[in-house]
């Protein structure tokens, strides 16, 4: 992928930006390039990120809200994005933060009583096959927030402990111990031995 003078990925067909272009003249090009760049990232990763957010907030509508907010946040910071290759990491972090805000808002403001969709693992949603699967995700939803996040990052996104630690801003050991505690709690919850 070719890069612009600002270190952005250059969209196909975009004209090269002169290095010393005046600010006002450069702005439309920069804005257009940012829009094209974020649009390409959106098309590539939006579905995966909505699915990731779904694991944490439960319903698709809220997950889409969170992901769009995350993309807008990344878009606003696009001109300062020094490592476009790490944009997915930024987005995952932004989605994670957005999901935390949703959970806090629901808990504090009873927003759960606003008519958002029921969790996909609920019988009411009738979105998933298999009682065992629904019971599993319902049990995950009852875990503390950090444990839910670690499980989603490790077992849905299949990230390594190192990658998970980087996104959560904790040590690798913390990820390991949190995952172990979460699995143990799940096993207890589901009345089976994790071994």
């Amino acid at each position: 992928m070719s890069m612009t003078a600002h270190g952005q990925p250059r969209a196909a067909g975009a004209q090269p930006e002169p290095d010393a272009e005046p600010w006002r003249a450069a702005e439309p090009t920069r804005a257009r390039s940012a829009a094209e760049g974020i649009d390409a990232v959106y098309r590539e990763h939006a579905t995966g990120l909505v699915r990731f957010a779904l694991m944490l907030v439960g319903d698709k509508s809220t997950a889409e809200d969170v992901v769009q907010e995350a993309f807008l946040a990344v878009y606003r910071g696009w001109p300062r994005l020094r490592e476009p290759g790490s944009v997915l990491g930024y987005l995952r972090t932004a989605v994670l933060n957005g999901c935390r805000s949703v959970q806090r808002s629901r808990g504090r403001a009873r927003l759960r009583r606003f008519p958002h969709d029921p969790p996909v693992w609920s019988a009411e949603a009738a979105a998933m096959d298999g009682e065992d699967r629904r019971a599993m995700l319902a049990a995950v939803a009852r875990l503390p927030r950090r444990q839910r996040e670690v499980l989603a990052l490790r077992y849905y996104l299949e990230l390594s402990e190192h990658e998970t630690a980087a996104i959560l801003g904790v040590s690798r050991g913390t990820v390991s111990s949190t995952a172990a505690r979460a699995l143990s709690a799940l096993a207890r919850e589901l009345r089976e031995d994790a071994q």
Partner: protein
């Protein structure tokens, strides 16, 4: 092979399969980012994680010096006792403590009772002087507001289970001088057949003559319909206004004489053309939609365009100023900004300061000299004149969130 891990992966895959790429929303219309600057206020004076705009820095520095001097005399540990009633500062040889009523949210983990009782604390120390359980079985406290004397509070209680319907009961709590509950009486008003929002859903005028509430009814298949009620506590009469069903109301506030009502209303996310606003409504206005009976004293662009999310707003005692709390996301970092606007023309008067926090709600003391912001972090008191801050201790169990703070 760990069957539990495999089953977990299988469940995750099944859940992911419910999201079909061709049914996702279209990408948002990317707004022109424009030349943004993270820091626009020049030099700042840092007070903890709170920063002040430059014009206030010298004033805050002077206030800080005064606080240090006072603190060296009366401080207990790191807790300067600055929370006594404003009218008594420097006038009473033995200022009585200011009490804070903390309403817990539901438990966040499987520990302890579902809804612990509300706590009465000495605001400056966090010392718990009393607790208050909901008066009916199967109900819990959800919101609270304080009166001007700090010895009387209005509380709202609702059923624990939403399946029992949306009902709210209002009560008047009085405290002894030591901060213990002295009496708890139901307000003589009709039962509210809706849920009161804890994030600023109750307010009381400083003269105690009016109580405002923000309630939401939740039909199963439609957006909530919000109602604002203002109760005349002398007669029990209630005057009501409604809010557009697609808007999201967040807080209510009353001027000291109860003549003006301020309502902060978020627009739904990504609703094109809808703005966020703090509406000001005369409380003698005829019942009807807020959008028709009031005016948007402060208007903000939708969050999807500006990145700024309107939160709570409180109106000053004289009804001339609105203190508005907003969140702004920049580079994945959420900043809370508290700013003062003119009620007359909506003009930004000054920025009180910014706070590094991801979330929060706000309530003012009855004199509106100070506000308290609470949310994911411990509550922070902000002096609206000087911008100085003080972190409060909250003695709630660790497993519950803070639902509301009245003080």
């Amino acid at each position: 092979v760990n069957s539990l891990e495999d089953r977990l992966r299988d469940a995750y895959r099944a859940a992911a399969g419910t999201v079909s790429p061709d049914r996702l929303r279209m990408p948002p219309r990317w707004p022109d980012p424009g030349p943004r600057r993270l820091v626009t206020w020049g030099a700042r004076l840092a007070l903890g994680s709170w920063t002040l705009p430059a014009p206030l820095a010298p004033l805050a520095a002077a206030a800080a010096v005064v606080a240090v001097v006072i603190g060296s005399v009366v401080a207990v540990g790191a807790w300067p006792r600055i929370l006594g009633p404003t009218t008594q500062t420097g006038q009473s040889p033995a200022p009585t403590p200011r009490f804070m009523l903390v309403v817990p949210g539901g438990r966040a983990a499987d520990a302890g009772p579902l809804y612990p009782p509300a706590q009465i604390q000495v605001a400056s120390t966090g010392h718990v002087t009393g607790t208050l359980s909901a008066p009916r079985a199967g109900t819990h406290w959800v919101a609270a507001a304080a009166s001007a004397d700090n010895r009387s509070f209005v509380l709202a209680a609702e059923p624990d289970s939403a399946s029992e319907g949306d009902y709210t009961w209002l009560y008047r709590l009085t405290l002894t001088s030591g901060g213990q509950p002295a009496s708890l009486m139901p307000l003589d008003v009709p039962r509210i057949t809706a849920t009161i929002l804890p994030t600023g859903g109750l307010a009381e005028s400083a003269d105690g003559q009016r109580v405002a509430y923000l309630s939401v009814r939740i039909p199963l298949t439609a957006h909530p319909t919000a109602t604002i009620g203002v109760i005349d506590t002398a007669t029990g009469q209630v005057r009501k206004w409604t809010i557009s069903q697609f808007a999201r109301p967040w807080s209510v506030s009353l001027s000291a004489d109860g003549s003006l009502l301020a309502v902060s209303v978020q627009a739904g996310r990504f609703q094109a053309g809808r703005f966020q606003a703090v509406w000001v409504v005369p409380t003698d206005a005829a019942p009807g939609p807020v959008e028709q009976r009031g005016r948007p004293a402060v208007r903000l662009s939708p969050p999807g365009e500006s990145g700024k999310v309107l939160n709570s707003a409180v109106i000053s005692a004289d009804g001339a100023t609105l203190f508005v709390l907003t969140f702004h996301t920049i580079n994945f970092h959420v900043t809370t900004t508290l700013a003062a606007y003119s009620v007359a023309n909506g003009r930004l008067l000054r920025t009180v300061g910014t706070l590094d926090a991801e979330d929060g709600s706000m309530s003012a003391d009855p004199s509106v000299d100070r506000v308290v912001i609470w949310g994911s972090a411990p509550p922070v008191v902000i002096d609206l004149t000087t911008g100085t801050t003080q972190t409060l201790r909250v003695s709630l169990p660790a497993y519950v969130s803070t639902s509301a703070v009245a003080w």
